[in-house]
């Protein structure tokens, strides 16, 4: 993968609004933003109800993902173009999720909804009508999904990239600062994890930084190209964006997203936790 295959520009999307081989999909942190206006023809996926099991803390299973995409009119051969707010935070999560279930042709709109809005491009409240399809998903590709035991085993041996804000990493905040801070789990980070806040991947307008700048960002913190990498954050969405940058834009091999992230790790009994701005010892 590369920038040319994984990203499209707003101009490209405007030129392809009527292309039947493309499905635009909005996935937003604020699940109501689609309803106040969206890009023409775009469908909505709600990360809280469509993409998450409603009982267990896990994703919907293969059959449910197939039923979801079939009912929304997404076919296996469609080019899926995802966009969302907040630097494409949840759109990048959906990108990783589609990859997990084996969708082949998928792209992110660079800059997402924010860039589109700041450019004063057109939004509509018209809902698209799409014919149902018969979508077939693959078994989950676990080469891109990390679980807690792998994360504990990676302490001091693999690249662990904690993409939360510096104050969350150090233990001064427990959640992103647009959310209340009272939380159940302990504060801090996985020892030896390096803090590269997800926002450093993006420009203020939500577009991704240039490849050279991104390479320098990860080289500066000392990511070891010879080792596997696990990205984590609080609930696994911001780290999807960093997974996207490392794997899809920069072409690193063996990059996994730990979707359990700090809400799982910070609640585990008996695992090591580091506090403060330094990575800490294994």
């Amino acid at each position: 993968m590369s920038r040319e295959t994984a990203l499209v520009t707003a101009e490209w999307v405007e030129e392809h609004l009527d292309d039947p081989s493309i499905v635009l999909v909005e996935v937003d942190e604020d699940t109501k933003s689609y309803d106040k206006g969206h890009i023409k023809g775009a469908i909505k996926l709600d990360w809280t109800t469509d993409l998450q099991d409603q009982v267990r803390r896990d994703f919907v299973d293969k059959a449910a993902f197939e039923a979801l995409l079939s009912s929304r009119g997404v076919g296996n051969d469609h080019t899926v173009v995802l966009y969302g707010g907040n630097n494409n935070w949840f759109a990048a999560y959906a990108y990783w999720y589609f990859k997990l279930y084996g969708h082949q042709d998928i792209k992110l709109l660079d800059g997402g909804r924010k860039k589109w809005e700041l450019d004063s491009r057109e939004l509509t409240d018209e809902l698209p009508e799409r014919e149902p399809t018969s979508y077939t998903a693959q078994e989950q590709d676990l080469s891109i999904r990390a679980f807690r035991d792998e994360t504990v085993a990676a302490i001091g041996t693999q690249n662990l990239i904690d993409v939360r804000s510096p104050d969350e990493y150090a233990g001064r905040l427990l959640a992103p600062a647009h959310l209340p801070q009272e939380q159940a789990q302990r504060a801090g980070h996985v020892p030896t994890s390096l803090n590269v806040p997800w926002s450093k991947n993006c420009n203020d307008d939500g577009t991704f930084k240039k490849d050279e700048d991104l390479k320098e960002l990860y080289a500066e913190v000392g990511i070891d190209d010879g080792k596997d990498t696990i990205a984590l954050c609080r609930i696994g969405e911001r780290s999807s964006l960093t997974w996207f940058v490392l794997k899809e834009l920069l072409g690193h091999q063996n990059v996994k997203n730990y979707d359990g992230s700090w809400t799982e790790y910070g609640s585990l009994v008996g695992v090591p936790v580091a506090l403060g701005d330094e990575p800490g010892a294994a």
């Binding site: 933003s33 510096p166 450093k200």
Partner: protein, 103 residues
Amino acid sequence: MCGATEGGLSLDGINVAKEAIIQGQVVRAGSNGQTDPVGNAYVRLLDRTGEFTAEVPTSATGHFRFFAGPGEWTLRTLAPKAEPVDTAVSAEVGAIREVAVQV
């Protein structure tokens, strides 16, 4: 739940005594010396080193809210057809800091 609701989360059911809240409204100069709320702006919260910590889209009435930690913060406001505006603000637990931003 992790939803950046437009304008920030409501304070319903939140123990504000345990939170360091920064909130306010984004406006732009209108006609006759009045100001109009900006409902399609993005407000970013930067920490004391200038690092991004969170971002919310403003509500239809231009409002936003953050649950920060105690200390010094900067709000960076982005709006269509306007230059970014930086506003310094300090927060403390148990207090609500009101900030007016004009773009």
